[in-house]
Amino acid sequence: MPVPKVAERFTGSVNRLTLGATKEDGGTRSATVTVGGARNVVYGGSAADTGEKPVIAMDVLDSKPEDWPDVLVEPYKDVLDSPGDWAKKCVEEFGAELICVKFDGIHPDKNDRDAAHAVKVTEEVLKAVGVPLVLWGCGNDEKDNEVMPKVSGAAKGEKCLIGTVTEDNYKSLTAIALADGHYLITHAPLDINIAKQVNILTSDMGFPLERIVTFQATGALGYGIEYAYSIQERQRLAALTGDKMMAMPVICDVGYESWRAKEAKLTDAPGWGDPADRGPMWEVATAICLLQAGVDIIRMRHPRAVATVKNFISQIWT
């Protein structure tokens, strides 16, 4: 009797979307990035079912970070004041496939920078690099609603990924992202039910489901990674079994979350090993773990961590 085939097959798939608009497409990007398309879980099914390779979006902050540990500052020390040069370094030296401009500096509790600053940063980064951009607000609803529509307009037609919108604050950014031809990040606080609801709400406004990427919130290794993992896995299984409201590619924020961990940044801990390795390793472990759950875009920070994760991806997604 032959051994039966036990590989699971699914009827649904993750949406495939292409970020970035080249000249022919009305933008100025030199390259586009396609994500999504998985028709099975990671390691499941045939090679044809794996979909597009996950990609790494390297973080560039709009304002010089004040609280980064030395290990993380070191590779960027010459460019932290200049988002354009910073982005260029990420792409040319560290192989970033996307740049995520994180507008921390506009937060009222941080630098409280205005929309003109954010627009200037956006234009600078667009000019400096040819890869598609992710444009990510500061998380303060009022300030994001004031600034992010202007950022969206500054990158009009470039098919950026812009966000984030939440259950309580989705209308203005959804409308402007639709008008400016961008893709949208829907954001839920580690809650699968809210995640689905945000997708429904944005889609009710006429935003196409095929242009949404979901962010379920990320927990780093030791700081809630199991919640992030199980929610991302659940979303992926829902996508694969045909739930169109959950069939979006997934983005996760590994860089910020990993470097919040004290194990990543504490220098005075001889028993924990060399701090120069520990931080990047924390980022790598978090990223590689979440990749198994089904992730399409990973936001990361340290160049060594990026190189290691890229190497891992290239061996699994051939």
């Binding site: 039910n193 689905k196 609801q197 429904i200 045909g242 409201m245």
Partner: protein
């Protein structure tokens, strides 16, 4: 849930007349309305009145396909009528052959014929097989399960994927004398049928049959639907235009963790359910 919308059936007067008068509009409107309401498949049954059932089946299939691409479920007790439909059907998104018993007194091989027809129709063609054989519809649980097991083993012998097989446990009208015990029996049978293959065959029922001739038809249908979903029912031939029924369906599936809850779960159910 795979919902096979029941309304394009010659048993309904407006459909019967539309077939007789070749009135495309009536059929196409039903096709569109049922698709919008959440049908995964559209059942197509010419009824018994049509003079030439094979021609009527072909006319219905072509008429529906002019207006929507929802896959079809070709419904007849006569293999010739289904075969006629298969000649003109677009099976790219799937097609269901509805239905065949395990065997018949005058046709021992009818299940094999249906499997062969489905194989020829393409990789997405499925069959509905009834838990009934040449002795008729069984009254007890064990015989129902035994017939289902024979159907499953026959499809396995033929290398036919169990995911392309729907087992219909045959719902009898609850109002028929002595039939009231059957709905409970069917639920118990479902508990066992789902373990006959891995992956399990689909389980379906002709839901509206249950309330034939009874009062409170919609209520009877939807309560049984919820009960059966809790036992593993994953398909039904049903009235998708009955909004109460569809709401129960969405809620039961959500409660069984088949759909992720969201505050708008009722609203999105039908769109999330498309094949």
């Amino acid at each position: 849930m795979i919902i096979i919308a029941e309304r394009i059936n010659g048993m309904f007067t407006n459909v019967k007349e539309a077939i007789a008068e070749k009135n495309k509009q009536v059929i196409q409107e039903l096709a569109k309305k049922q698709t919008e309401a959440g049908a995964t498949y559209l059942d197509v049954n010419v009824g018994t009145a049509a003079a030439d059932q094979e021609a009527a089946m072909q006319w219905l299939v072509e008429t529906i396909q002019e207006t929507c691409s929802t896959p079809l479920c070709l419904d007849s007790q006569k293999p010739g009528v289904i075969a006629a439909g298969l000649k003109v059907v677009n099976a790219d998104n799937g097609v269901i052959l509805n239905s065949t018993p395990l065997n018949k007194k005058n046709d021992e091989e009818i299940l094999d014929k249906h499997i062969e027809m489905a194989e020829q129709a393409g990789p997405k063609a499925s069959i509905i097989a009834l838990t009934m054989d040449k002795n008729g519809v069984p009254q007890d649980i064990d015989t129902r399960v035994a017939i289902a097991a024979e159907i499953v083993s026959k499809t396995m012998e033929k290398g036919f994927d169990s995911r392309r097989l729907f087992i219909d446990t045959i719902l009898l009208p609850v109002k028929v004398p002595n039939a009231q015990v059957q709905s409970g029996n069917i639920l118990t049978a479902m508990d066992q049928i789902k373990y006959l293959a891995d992956p399990a065959p689909h389980m379906t029922v002709g839901l509206s049959n249950l309330s034939q001739g009874a009062t409170e038809r919609s209520l009877i249908n939807r309560v049984f639907l919820a009960m059966a979903i809790s036992r593993g029912l994953d398909s039904a031939i049903a009235d998708v235009l009955d909004q109460d029924l569809m709401n129960v369906l969405a809620t039961a599936e959500m409660l069984m963790n088949k759909q992720i809850y969201s505050d708008s779960f009722l609203k999105v159910y039908s769109s999330a359910n498309k094949a």
